[in-house]
């Protein structure tokens, strides 16, 4: 497909999805909200983990921290400014936290990222307990169609960001880190700087997603806001879809959320089993994900060749 045609199709799709907000029922809006949420999350995950190979199993830390920052300033600032601020605050903090965290590689980084999310969860828990708060309700949140539209916007931005970074020199630098970090360093790629930047960028959107999410759930509770399930779900979606380029997470999320709805309605008892088998199958047989497989099969090019 020609690039301009792709762009036109994407714009038409986005306008259509935004238009749906006006008349669709709660159920459709709810599914749309979930799909957009995971697209935004999985795309952000790809910026760090897909491109650099630093697999984060604790990406919920950004989601939860964003939600927490948002609930703390809830009522003090206008709603959407609050969402924006939570993204900025989390992005800035991750520039500091990322510095020591990204010095660790491979499996150690995977474990550390997971541990970091648990650590922050418990810090928030302790802090809340000290203030005698067990949960914080969100009163007067915007209507679902507004949250739907905001999430759609984040999904579009996240997808565009991944698409653009993947094709930029910045993205080439990130991928050279994934290929061979030492070689990248030797030839002059400023690896420490690039990794840190990718870490912060991949945290900003999940933080805003977290803020919007608690307006939908109506409540902030640190156990829920930092649940590892969110981390695992976005990783699963990115891997099943393909974690090297923007179309991957998009396909993975749509596939999984729809499958989830289908299974949930018809076979709730085997739902988790089927998901597990799927992930296993993809990792073993289609490691490049749906997108990688499609582009190899139908466009005759290997995943990494542009």
């Amino acid at each position: 497909m020609k690039n301009s045609l792709k762009l036109v199709l994407a714009v038409v799709l986005c306008v259509f999805l935004a238009g749906v907000a006006g008349f669709a029922d709660e159920y459709i809006l709810g599914i749309g909200f979930t799909i957009f949420m995971y697209i935004a999350l999985a795309q952000s995950w790809v910026v760090l983990s897909g491109l650099t190979g630093y697999i984060s199993l604790g990406h919920v830390v950004f989601f939860g921290s964003g939600a927490y920052v948002f609930i703390l300033i809830w009522g003090l600032v206008p709603v959407w400014l609050g969402v924006f601020c939570s993204g900025i605050v989390v992005g800035l903090v991750s520039l500091i936290v990322g510095y020591p965290v990204l010095r660790v590689r491979g499996p150690y980084f995977v474990i550390l990222s997971f541990g970091l999310a648990e650590l922050v969860k418990n810090l928030v828990l302790i802090n809340e307990a000290r203030m005698y708060v067990s949960m914080r309700p969100v009163f007067g949140a915007p209507a679902l169609y507004q949250l739907y539209t905001a999430m759609l916007l984040l999904a579009i931005i996240a997808t565009g960001l991944t698409y653009w970074i993947r094709r930029s020199r910045f993205g080439a630098g990130l991928r050279s880190i994934r290929e061979d970090e030492e070689a990248a360093e030797t030839i002059g790629v400023p690896v420490a700087k690039l990794k840190l930047l990718a870490f912060a960028i991949s945290g900003v959107i999940p933080a805003m997603v977290g803020a919007i999410f608690i307006m939908r759930s109506g409540i902030f509770q640190s156990g829920d806001a930092f649940t590892p399930i969110v981390s695992f779900t976005m990783v699963t979606m990115a891997i099943i879809g393909g974690s090297d380029d923007a179309p991957g997470p998009f396909l993975g999320v749509v596939f999984l959320v729809l499958l989830q709805e289908l299974l949930w309605v018809n076979w709730p008892e085997v739902y988790m089993i089927i998901l597990g088998i799927l992930l296993l199958g993809f990792v073993l047989f289609i490691p490049n994900g749906i997108y990688g497989w499609l582009s190899e099969k139908y466009f005759g090019n290997k995943k990494n060749v542009t």
Binding site: S176, E179, I187, V191, V305
Partner: protein
């Protein structure tokens, strides 16, 4: 031909408490090939890794072009014109030949002339031109070494440091690599080469240092060292 092109004074490098290089001083003259020879574990690779900023010096000073670069991070050294072609080639296997080359021009200085450099690389290494859309990992060992050299050249280096460029290559391919090194010198690149193939390295080098257990035991022109009976006995088995 200023003598202070690259000047290393009393350099010591250690892994924890174990010294891999001790009180080593050397000079690399502009436009020449300087060789560092010695057996396994002599400290050669340690030396190059320290020069390119992957390891930190414990003591000593590294001056490049009269500027102290001892504690400069890797990418700033590349920016200044110091480029290393690492041991074992370390090309990016899932990047195409062309992507491998392009990422070699990552520094600001090299980025401006990336198209010229690319054309130039293909002229010097016609094999790479034929394979420009092939993945790096599918090249043969010799071709990968050529690619690593070309990628190093993409950074527009003033000093190219080669770490064991013929390691694991067939003799004929090694010959081609050595010829290429001489060619690079002829087009004006200063070269610092580290090799186990003492005999052939000294034949193409201008100056040389012999390292043993992290200490320099001999230095001079390559010709002097090549004809030294002790060197011939311990490194060439003659």
């Amino acid at each position: 031909m200023s003598p202070s092109f690259l000047k290393i004074s009393n350099l010591s490098v250690a892994y924890e408490q174990v010294y891999a290089l001790r009180d080593f001083s050397c000079n690399v003259e502009e436009g020449r090939i300087t060789a560092l020879v010695g057996s396994n574990g002599a400290g050669k690779t340690t030396f190059l890794r320290t020069l390119s900023g992957l390891l930190e010096a414990k003591q000593g000073v590294i001056e490049f072009d009269n500027a102290d670069i001892t504690y400069l991070p890797s990418h700033k050294r590349v920016e200044a014109g110091l480029t290393m072609v690492p041991e074992g080639r370390l090309i990016f296997p899932d990047f195409t030949v062309e992507q491998n080359l392009k990422i070699g021009a990552v520094s600001k200085r090299a980025l401006g002339q990336v198209e010229d450099s690319l054309e130039n690389s293909y002229k010097i290494f016609p094999k790479l031109d034929q394979r420009r859309h092939q993945l790096g990992g599918t090249l043969s060992g010799g071709e990968q070494q050529m690619l690593a050299l070309a990628r190093g050249m993409m950074a527009c280096p003033r000093l190219l440091m080669l770490d064991e460029p013929t390691l694991g290559l067939a003799p004929l391919i090694s010959d081609a690599i050595f010829e290429m090194v001489v060619h690079l010198k002829q087009i004006g690149i200063t070269i610092l080469i580290v090799e186990q193939d003492v005999n052939r390295t000294l034949q193409i080098a201008d100056n040389a240092y012999v390292l043993e257990n992290g200490v320099s035991i001999m230095e001079g022109t390559a010709r002097e060292i090549l004809t030294d009976p002790k060197v011939r006995e311990s490194y060439m088995g003659i």
